[in-house]
Structure formats: structure tokens, C-alpha cells
């Protein structure tokens, strides 16, 4: 308990004192993004373009509608944001945003996922200031929301979003404290080659905060955040035998039922498998992360006996 409180306090401290803080003065807004680059905005941005789900998410959460967003090709924009994004210009996929379209919408800020846009950084910067963000861990998410808030001229609202999120995590942790939790695995595709996520990934980190034990383990490359996980052999999965399995959506029908160890896993036999929505994969945005907490609460916490 005290450990959890200390952990959350530590996160807040890191966020407040991190070099990623910026400030506003009458010369405009200055920010340092996750590339270490400094952005200079003459005024708060009102026309953000989003290259990644996070950008759209945070813009909507802070009340500034984005002027252009990237999407998933055949699958379109993420479901949970779709109603609010109708009519917004599409930029193509997040790793290849259409620069001509981006230029034509005349944005004054681009909120992007760093690892996909870094290679085109110069060209995007020429169109509008680029806020490139790592969006992997909880700390990344908090910092990213704060930066976006400053860039969009709504720092107080961003801070409120962060505070509310952290309070909610903490209260859930306290409520769950002392109850039997178990091991959990977050997998994509349970079929032939399941991929399991490490502890630092946002959803699994949240699960860990709430007392669950992620079988994915620690990342071997903690400074970088990449890779996000690894392909787990079925024998290893069987040995780890998580109590609960969360599956990210896959387009293959019932792919996991083809897995030979599937019937033998404890989670399968006790019925503790749940499919989680797609935003678990890109959960750094304020709306998405609240929904992840909703899902965790609904699936894993309320089913615990009082």
C-alpha cells in the first residue's frame, strides 16, 4: 500500500520536474518533446493535426478538435473516437502520413508518435511544429498529456486530466489491496505465435499498479521502451500459466482456439479470458486510458468477491 502510494508520488515528481516541462511567456510557448527538440509556438495551438491515435485523443479530451488525423487504413479511425472525428480530414496511415494533405489543412501543431515519424521529422517540421512523443509507458502518457496541454494552451485542464487519472488508479489500487489477485498476461493473437507484452507497456503497467503480476516480465532494454514484448513459446506460456489472459483483438476468427495448449491453460479452463478493445494497444491518450481502467475494473476487479 505504502509502496503504491510512493510509486505514484514518484511518478508525479518525475513528471513535474522532468526536462520536458515547458513554459509560456509573452514570447509564446516553448516545449521540449521526446526527441529532445525544442518547439517554439507563437501562441497556443488551435489547429492540431494528429499523427497517431494519441493526438486525436488528447485534442478531443482538451476540447480542441483536430483538423486532420491518421487512421488504420481499411479499418478506419479507432472506434472509440469515431463519432467525434466524423468529417475530419484523413491523413493516411500513421507511419506514412500524406504530407500534401497535411500541408493543405494548415495545422499549427502536429502531435505525433515518435517512433514512426522520426524519419520524416524534418519534412513535418517544415509544415508545423512537431511534438513527437514516446507513447509506451504510463510516464510517457502523463508527460505527453501535459506537453499537449501546454501546446494547446490548456495546461490546467491537462493537469486536471492527469491528476484525475492518477487518483483513480490510486483509489482502485487501494480498494483492491489485500484481495487475491493473480498473474495476468496481455497477448496479441493467441494462435500459433502469441506475443506477450512486458511490464512497462501502459496497460500492463496499470495492471501491475493494481496489484496484478504481469507474466511478461521486465524489459531487457528499459531505457528505450522498445521492444514492447516478445514472442512467447507455447511451452513457456504453459509454464507461466497466467490466471487471467487478456487478448488484443485479432482479425482471425477464433484464432486462439487453434492453439494446442489452449485447452490446458488455467485461464481458459476457469473462463478468465477476455478480449479487450483495440485502444489497449494505443492507450496513452486521456480518453483511452480511462477506458482501459474501466475495462480493468469491469473485467477483473468487480468479479473479485468482496
Amino acid at each position: 500500500m505504502a509502496y503504491l502510494r510512493k510509486r505514484i508520488a514518484k511518478i508525479l515528481l518525475v513528471v513535474l520536474l522532468s526536462p520536458a516541462s515547458g513554459w509560456a511567456d509573452n514570447q509564446g510557448i516553448r516545449l521540449t518533446d521526446d526527441r529532445g527538440d525544442t518547439l517554439q509556438l507563437p501562441a497556443a495551438a488551435t489547429r492540431p493535426a494528429a499523427i497517431s491515435t494519441f493526438g486525436a485523443d488528447v485534442a478531443l479530451a482538451l476540447g480542441t478538435a483536430p483538423v486532420a488525423v491518421t487512421d488504420y487504413g481499411l479499418q478506419g479511425v479507432p472506434d472509440y473516437l469515431a463519432p467525434q472525428l466524423s468529417g475530419v480530414r484523413g491523413l493516411g496511415p500513421r507511419h506514412q502520413p500524406n504530407l500534401e494533405v497535411l500541408s493543405s489543412v494548415r495545422p499549427d501543431l502536429v502531435i505525433a508518435i515518435r517512433r514512426y515519424t522520426e524519419k520524416d521529422g524534418d519534412q513535418i517540421k517544415a509544415i508545423a511544429p512537431l511534438l513527437a512523443l514516446d507513447l509506451i509507458t504510463v510516464e510517457d502518457s502523463l508527460r505527453a498529456v501535459e506537453l499537449a496541454g501546454q501546446a494547446l494552451g490548456k495546461p490546467a485542464k491537462a493537469e486536471a486530466l492527469n491528476d484525475r487519472f492518477l487518483e483513480r488508479v490510486q483509489s482502485l489500487a487501494e480498494r483492491n489491496n489485500g484481495k487475491p489477485t493473480g498473474t495476468v498476461a496481455l497477448l496479441t493473437s493467441g494462435s500459433e505465435t502469441p506475443f506477450v507484452y512486458y511490464d512497462h507497456f501502459l496497460p500492463t503497467a496499470l495492471l501491475e499498479h493494481l496489484g496484478f503480476d504481469n507474466v511478461g516480465g521486465h524489459s531487457p532494454n528499459p531505457d528505450s521502451g522498445i521492444p514492447l514484448g516478445y514472442r512467447i513459446s507455447l511451452e513457456a506460456l504453459l509454464e507461466l500459466n497466467p490466471d487471467t489472459i487478456l487478448l488484443l483483438p485479432t482479425s482471425r476468427q477464433c484464432a486462439f482456439t487453434m492453439n494446442p495448449v489452449w485447452p490446458y491453460l488455467k485461464a481458459v479452463r476457469t473462463g478468465q479470458i477476455y478480449e479487450v478493445p483495440h485502444y489497449w494497444k494505443e492507450g496513452a491518450g486521456p480518453i483511452a486510458r480511462e477506458r482501459i481502467l474501466d475495462d480493468i475494473q469491469r473485467l477483473l476487479l468487480t468479479s473479485e468477491p468482496e
Binding site: P93, H95, E100, R115, E118, N221, S224, I226, P227
Partner: protein
């Protein structure tokens, strides 16, 4: 196919002869005109509609920032890069088909694309692990900056390996080189897919885009990187035209003419490799241009090597720019990479060509 008496270049003559007789001139004119047309289309058409006046204003620097950017920073360098890689791949394929005396040869058979791809994938992956502890801000930019150089080096090393393994009894055997190239390319491709599958989970989409051969994000810097190689390649080809004509005769004749066959072959191979590897380094592997264009130029130009050469360069550029144009306008804002479009366009045409052959 007409063979006017004056057009066959004689082996003993110096310099390049591009005779100006009727059919040839018309051919070259048509080629040049198509190039101009696609160039213009490439600058005008795209995801955003622009009028002629806007394009002109953009070129002369007289318009809004957005139009200026689209025309001058996005479309113009991209189209010109397309021209260059079209020339590179087409000429490289042409040389290789001549060298191996096989109409199905192209840069892929030397393993250049496969070698460059493997190095590119590895560079992407290693970029994660390299600098993570030192400066967390510097992870991938190191790999990305030098990616063209790495990829080109990978292609060159592979080609050299294939070349050396393709020697038989001390001189180059086209057959053995082809087979060795096929085996090595297959191996490298499997390794590339494996490496990407095993380590590349976080970068799959990025690498996939590179592996498809794409002009996305091409800027003036890419053009600057590529141009010296184009000039080197063209100069080399200029030197090679006469020896190539001689090499068209069979080996016995050639030896009696005392031409130092091996040395010229090696040189031609080097030029073909440099052309292909530099292009692959900048845009990734684009397969079909080098396979298809030499066929077309041979059909149109007959046995006349210099005309084949010029036509090859022109048509290669046209195909590359056209493929890229189609790729970025058909499903806007999504883009189909130039490698995929040229493959889709190329295959039916290729089959048609081959079906007409004896």
C-alpha cells in the same frame, strides 16, 4: 523491326553514334516527350488538386507557403528522384541482361536488393539497441541518417560475393553467377523476413514501407545523394558501349579480337551494381523496372545499342514517375509504393512481351 543500313554501329568506330534517321529519331522524340509529360503530371497531380497557375506560381516562388511547399518541397524532388531511380534500375537491368545474355536478368539476381534489404532491416532494429543507454533522445536517428549508405554497402557486398562465387575456372560464368545470385538472394530474403519477424515488432509498418520500395518522403537531399552515382553510372556506360557491342558476338569471336573480355565484363558488372545499389539504398528495392524496360527498349530499338541505351533511360524514368504518380493519387491519402505499382503494371505487359517471342 526496321534495320536501316546506316544505323548499325560498327565495332571499329569511335564514339557513340546515334543516327538521326527517321524511325530512330521519332522513337527518341516520343520517349523524350513522354518523359516531359509525366514530369509535368508528376508535379501537378497528387493528393491535393492544384491548378496550372498555382503550379507555375509555386515554381517561381510566387505563391502561398502551402503551394510552394507542395510543389517545390514535396512533388518536385519526389518526381525528380523518381526519374533518377527509373534510370538507375532500367540501365542496371539492361546491362545485366546484356552481360548474362539472358533476357530475364535484373539487379535482383545479383542479390543487391536482398542484401540492401537485410542491412536496412538490421539497421532499423539495431538502432533501438545501440544508443539507448547514452542519450535516450538519439535512438533511431543514427540509423536513419546513414540508412542509404548502409543499404548501399549491403547491396555492394552481396553483389561482390555473388560475383566471386560466380567465377568458374578463373573467369566469370554468367550461368553460374545467375544461379549463385538466385540462391544468395533467396537466403537473404529469408533472413530478412526472419529478422523482421523476430525483432521488428515495434517497427513493422516502417520497415514494410521501405521494403516495398517507396518514394514517400523523397526530398532534395535524396536527390543530392543519388545524382553523383547517376553521373558515374552514365559515364561508365558511355565507356562500355563499344565493348558491349563486341560482347554481343559470341565468346570465340571476341577472343580472337583480343578484347580483354573479362575486364570489361567486370567493369560492366561494377557499373550495373553501383547503379542498382545506390538506387536501392535511397528508395528500397524496386524490382520490375529493371526487368521490363530493357525488353521494351530492345523491341523498339532493335540491335542498335546506343539507341537502346537512351531509350532504356527515358522509358525507365517514365515508368518510375508514372508508377509513383498512380500510387499516390489512386487511393489518396493512402499511397501504394512505387515497387508495388510497377510490379502490378509490369507483369501483364511482361507476359505479353514474352508471348510474342519465339
Amino acid at each position: 523491326m526496321t534495320h536501316p543500313a546506316s544505323t548499325t554501329s560498327r565495332a571499329g568506330q569511335r564514339g557513340l553514334r546515334i543516327p538521326c534517321t527517321g524511325p530512330i529519331a521519332r522513337l527518341l522524340l516520343a520517349g523524350g516527350l513522354s518523359l516531359v509529360i509525366v514530369l509535368v503530371a508528376g508535379v501537378q497531380l497528387g493528393a491535393i488538386d492544384l491548378t496550372w497557375a498555382q503550379v507555375w506560381a509555386g515554381l517561381t516562388g510566387d505563391s502561398s507557403e502551402h503551394v510552394q511547399r507542395v510543389v517545390f518541397e514535396l512533388r518536385l524532388p519526389r518526381t525528380l528522384t523518381g526519374v533518377l531511380i527509373g534510370i538507375h534500375f532500367a540501365l542496371s537491368g539492361w546491362l545485366l541482361q546484356l552481360l548474362s545474355r539472358n533476357p530475364l536478368a535484373e539487379a535482383g539476381i545479383l542479390g543487391i536488393s536482398a542484401g540492401a534489404s537485410l542491412v536496412a532491416v538490421v539497421a532499423f532494429i539495431i538502432g533501438d539497441w545501440l544508443v539507448s543507454s547514452a542519450n535516450p533522445y538519439n535512438n533511431t536517428s543514427f540509423a536513419l541518417q546513414y540508412l542509404p549508405l548502409f543499404a548501399m554497402a549491403g547491396g555492394l557486398v552481396t553483389a561482390l560475393t555473388v560475383y566471386f562465387l560466380g567465377m568458374r575456372h578463373g573467369h566469370l560464368s554468367p550461368v553460374k553467377m545467375t544461379l549463385t545470385g538466385a540462391v544468395i538472394a533467396g537466403m537473404l530474403h529469408a533472413l530478412t523476413t526472419g529478422a523482421l519477424a523476430f525483432w521488428g515488432h515495434a517497427h513493422t509498418e516502417l520497415v514494410a514501407q521501405w521494403l516495398a520500395g517507396s518514394l514517400y518522403g523523397a526530398e532534395w537531399q535524396h536527390l543530392r545523394t543519388l545524382l553523383p552515382w547517376t553521373l558515374i553510372g552514365l559515364a561508365g556506360i558511355g565507356l562500355l558501349v563499344r565493348p558491349l557491342e563486341v560482347m554481343q558476338l559470341d565468346d570465340q569471336h571476341v577472343r580472337t579480337l583480343g578484347l580483354g573480355l573479362n575486364r570489361w565484363r567486370a567493369f560492366a558488372l561494377l557499373i550495373a551494381t553501383l547503379l542498382a545499389a545506390s538506387a536501392v539504398g535511397v528508395v528500397g528495392p524496386v524490382g520490375f523496372i529493371g526487368l521490363l524496360i530493357p525488353h521494351i527498349s530492345r523491341r523498339l530499338a532493335g540491335a542498335n545499342l546506343p539507341v537502346q541505351l537512351v531509350l532504356c533511360a527515358l522509358l525507365g524514368a517514365v515508368l518510375a514517375v508514372l508508377a509513383d504518380l498512380l500510387g499516390r493519387t489512386l487511393f489518396s491519402p493512402y499511397e501504394v509504393p512505387v515497387g508495388v505499382v510497377s510490379a502490378v503494371l509490369g507483369v501483364p505487359f511482361f507476359l505479353y512481351l514474352l508471348s510474342r517471342q519465339p
